[in-house]
């Protein structure tokens, strides 16, 4: 048997992928193979338990281990790093728990918190830096101000307050309230310094965040805030801008795009 044939056969036996017989192996070899087979399953389930500790707590041992075993079948590990075994686990849970959206959303939150934990370090624009750059801004400069957000940041629309579940489990408290939100909201995950953070955005902030994330100007954001909040919209837009800078999600203020020559 060639080495690659042996490895394919051994892999199938260890992971349970396909029917493999080992009648030509002696009892000692088969006993040894069982060690590798048990280790494969237990190592990966343990890895998922560690990566999704709060989801595990939320749904319990039996449901979690069954979901983890299912995930290993539908998404067998391919990456060099064991840490990637949890990629897509939220999607697996979404299929397995269609009536409990908080399960997949909590798993998404846990996964993204880990991703931002090791995301690339990049400079952020702090309050002093922003003040220096905007010190002599004219009204026109404020209106045309654009922002670049840090690249490691993640966001998604959620139906449930999975952040409250996270907090309750962390504090070892029971969560009695209904976790379903009144309306879908945006959950933001980012890293402040070396500490991963998350928070739910207000509807206005989410709209402003999306607008400026897509290249819109601070003037566009102020306009959107005024439409939603009336006269206090401008003040609220300024407060939101300051909040973003204080939380370390703004990396820089790019120059306005150069005017395009007429076609």
């Amino acid at each position: 048997m060639t080495l690659i044939d042996l490895q394919r056969r051994f892999y199938a036996a260890v992971t349970g992928a396909g029917e493999v017989t080992f009648e030509d192996w002696d009892p000692a070899q088969r006993a040894g193979l069982a060690v590798y087979r048990n280790a494969y399953r237990s190592r990966l389930i343990e890895c998922l338990r560690t990566s999704f500790e709060k989801t595990w707590t939320w749904i319990g041992d039996e449901s979690f281990d069954a979901a983890a075993a299912h995930h290993l079948i539908v998404k067998p590990p391919r990456s060099w790093t064991l840490d990637d075994a949890g990629a897509g686990f939220d999607e697996t849970l979404e299929q397995l728990f269609p009536n409990d959206p908080e399960v997949a959303e909590l798993a998404w939150l846990e996964w993204q918190m880990q991703q931002v934990f090791t995301a690339a370090d990049e400079p952020v624009l702090d309050a002093a830096g922003f003040a220096a750059l905007s010190n002599d801004f004219t009204e026109e400069a404020w209106t045309s101000l654009r922002l670049s957000f840090v690249s490691g940041m993640r966001s998604r629309r959620i139906q449930t307050d999975c952040g409250a579940i996270w907090a309750a489990i962390t504090a070892e408290e029971n969560l009695s309230a209904d976790v379903l939100l009144n309306e879908p909201r945006t959950l933001l995950v980012w890293r402040q310094g070396i500490a991963p953070r998350f928070r739910l955005l207000t509807a206005e902030e989410a709209a402003g965040f999306q607008l400026m994330g897509n290249g819109g100007t601070f003037g566009d954001m102020c306009e959107a805030f005024v439409q939603r909040l009336g006269a206090r919209g401008i003040e609220e837009a300024g407060r939101t801008l300051g909040f973003w800078i204080a939380q370390g999600i703004v990396s820089r203020m790019p120059a306005a795009p150069a005017p395009q020559p007429p076609l």
Partner: protein, 277 residues
Amino acid sequence: MTTIQPFNGFGLGLRRDHYADYMAGAVPVDFVEIISENFMVDGGRPLFTLDAIRERYPVAMHGVSMSIGSTEGLDAEYLARLKRLADRVKPLWVSDHLCWTGVNGRNTHDLLPLPYTEEALDVVCRNILHAQDVLERPLLFENPSSYVAFDAGMTEWQFLDAMYERTGCFLLLDVNNIYVSSVNHGFDPIAYLEGIPAATVRQIHLAGHSEGQDILIDTHDTPVCADVWALYQLACARFPSLATMIERDDAIPPIDVLLSELDIARRLSGHDARYAA
């Protein structure tokens, strides 16, 4: 390609439970060994911590994912990340295991056994030469614990010797792994040690194991046993220049417990106890 100078010293595996002790620079060891994959990340706290510890201690890098026995060649992204980390850490050396971890683009994340055949030797040596070329340094490879042995032309120690001859790589001898495999497969661990050329060994791992049903399992969650200490003494007599490390991966005790175990190694080694901070 440069060689790896012998480093006589006594160290521990760097584990998260003990980060604060190391950050304080209060752990009396000559070096620490990191699991390379834990730090092959883009940024954030792991690299921040590693940089701080690196300022205080020499670091050896030990990997689990190179899959040097892979018939499909080595993962280019993995090697590139490992190279970036090695350039950052400037380690004493970079090591991994004599094993394979997956096939057909899939990964078991286990150290799976190779048949010690000429074909496997060709595959392993080709991969070692490639890895050493990319990393621009000779590497160390560790003998694994194994639970399945194949009928093959070579013993494990003959295979390791041939690897060294063909590629110039060095060896990280895990004395517990020698013991575990010798019990599981019925070979003489002393013959194993005698079959390893003295010039090839740069580091020794010491660890504990557990007893399964008719099989020993390399669990790294218990203290080093008496039989392994005895084998370690023989190894130290045979390999006069090497670094010794206690490797605990599970049921990790307070740092003082591991330091006490490391003191046993210092005492038994007959080598100079290097730590003089």
